[in-house]
Point group: C2
Chain length 241, copies 2
Amino acid sequence: MAGRPLGAARRNQVGVLRRASTRTHVYTVLRRAIVSLELPPGQALSENELAARYSVSRTPVREALIRLADDGLVEVVPQLGTFVSRISVRDVVEVQFIRETLERASLPHAIKRVSAADEKRLRRLLDEQEEAELEGDLQHWFTTDESIHRSLLEIGGHPKIWPIVSSAKAHLDRVRMLTLPDPGLLHELHSQHRDIVESVIAKDRRQADQILRRHLRLAVDLLEALEAEHPDYFLLDADDA
Amino acid sequence: MAGRPLGAARRNQVGVLRRASTRTHVYTVLRRAIVSLELPPGQALSENELAARYSVSRTPVREALIRLADDGLVEVVPQLGTFVSRISVRDVVEVQFIRETLERASLPHAIKRVSAADEKRLRRLLDEQEEAELEGDLQHWFTTDESIHRSLLEIGGHPKIWPIVSSAKAHLDRVRMLTLPDPGLLHELHSQHRDIVESVIAKDRRQADQILRRHLRLAVDLLEALEAEHPDYFLLDADDA
DNA sequence: TCTGGCGCTCTACCATACCAGTATTGCGAA
DNA sequence: TTCGCAATACTGGTATGGTAGAGCGCCAGA
């Protein structure tokens, strides 16, 4: 093979971020690629190939794939291969239910506990997202989307809900990605964010809940149309895991 | 050459039937040991030592530890060690909230969808649990406990909630384990199971919800007392992750 | 006696080698 | 031409070796 491990001198090869472990880095990169559909559902992933592409060994790649498998984003079949999981309509609906249930349950607590500093932070995130929208920076838009939802959970005193919602979001965002770039949808989502935040600040429980619910359902409402449009991305209804 | 001996190829090192992957096996064993407090909070776990104890290599041990870290049951500190996580009161409360929210949200669906076959299955599980209770077989009791809760989620059409609840349950059961063996508590929990199932069958939403809620809160109600009794098992309130 | 620094040891992390299966493919026989 | 079988070229699973970093204890010096 090519060069042998040279120790610390070689450690910086992958990216600027040396802080996180290699495994986390690979996990992050792969996850982003899957959610963005850059790696389409059904795509075969080879541990060897990925290791070569990112110039790391198989070990961290493998560990990243295990985490992705736990997230349901890939399926690893022993002695056969690892594949980007196809989208299961049933799973998406259920994952959406989980997310909606948890975020809505936390919202009243956020309304009770929101502080002036929280308000400032939320409004800053909203502005940041608006900027990303105007600039057409999808990546940044999604980052702020996560920040807003995570912040609301943290304000509600339920930070541990976020990892669950985040895992759900991955599947939902993959669906949403099929409808993008639709500037109208993006704008509507951002507008809903603003309405939710303002309702929380105004301590209007009913309105906040109503908008959040509608907000979270936007992705799945178009599911059937998307399935017809991209049949190869979806799992057949008969299949179960 | 003469080729490999095909008959012997089937033989897997340990003759204990056809077990899942080593990684899963180690994960299961370790998880059970942690939840049962056989491995107490704060206990240091060494990859090398575990590998030696279970007569496997470090790789599957390491991968199992990563999964346990995702579950929040262990904490791995690079270049230092891996430790059974201490119990954080705040986390237990939050995890309890998550579990309660999801199970209660699914319950109405279970009431709508419960079939005759489901009823039979649930009652069989209840009988099985009663038997385990009478025999004092804690391990079996916990198994049926899991089956009952999982079944209710599946009947409600939300099987994907189970992994989340299961992860939450691990933390809650660890707390509960501090109160056992208390035959009175065990009996009360079983009795509540029966009441919940009967309410579901009777399609009494309000009663089912009420009992389930009380049922799920039993573990955390005693938290403060337990923390006073076993201070070394708990995390100090100041600490955050 | 106390303190500061050097080094030993143990850790998890990553790289690599080996193993046991599976799908493919190419070749020989019908 | 077509079919069956066996060698092969993959796959992921496991075992093992090497590396940097963190903690701790010993020891020299004040």
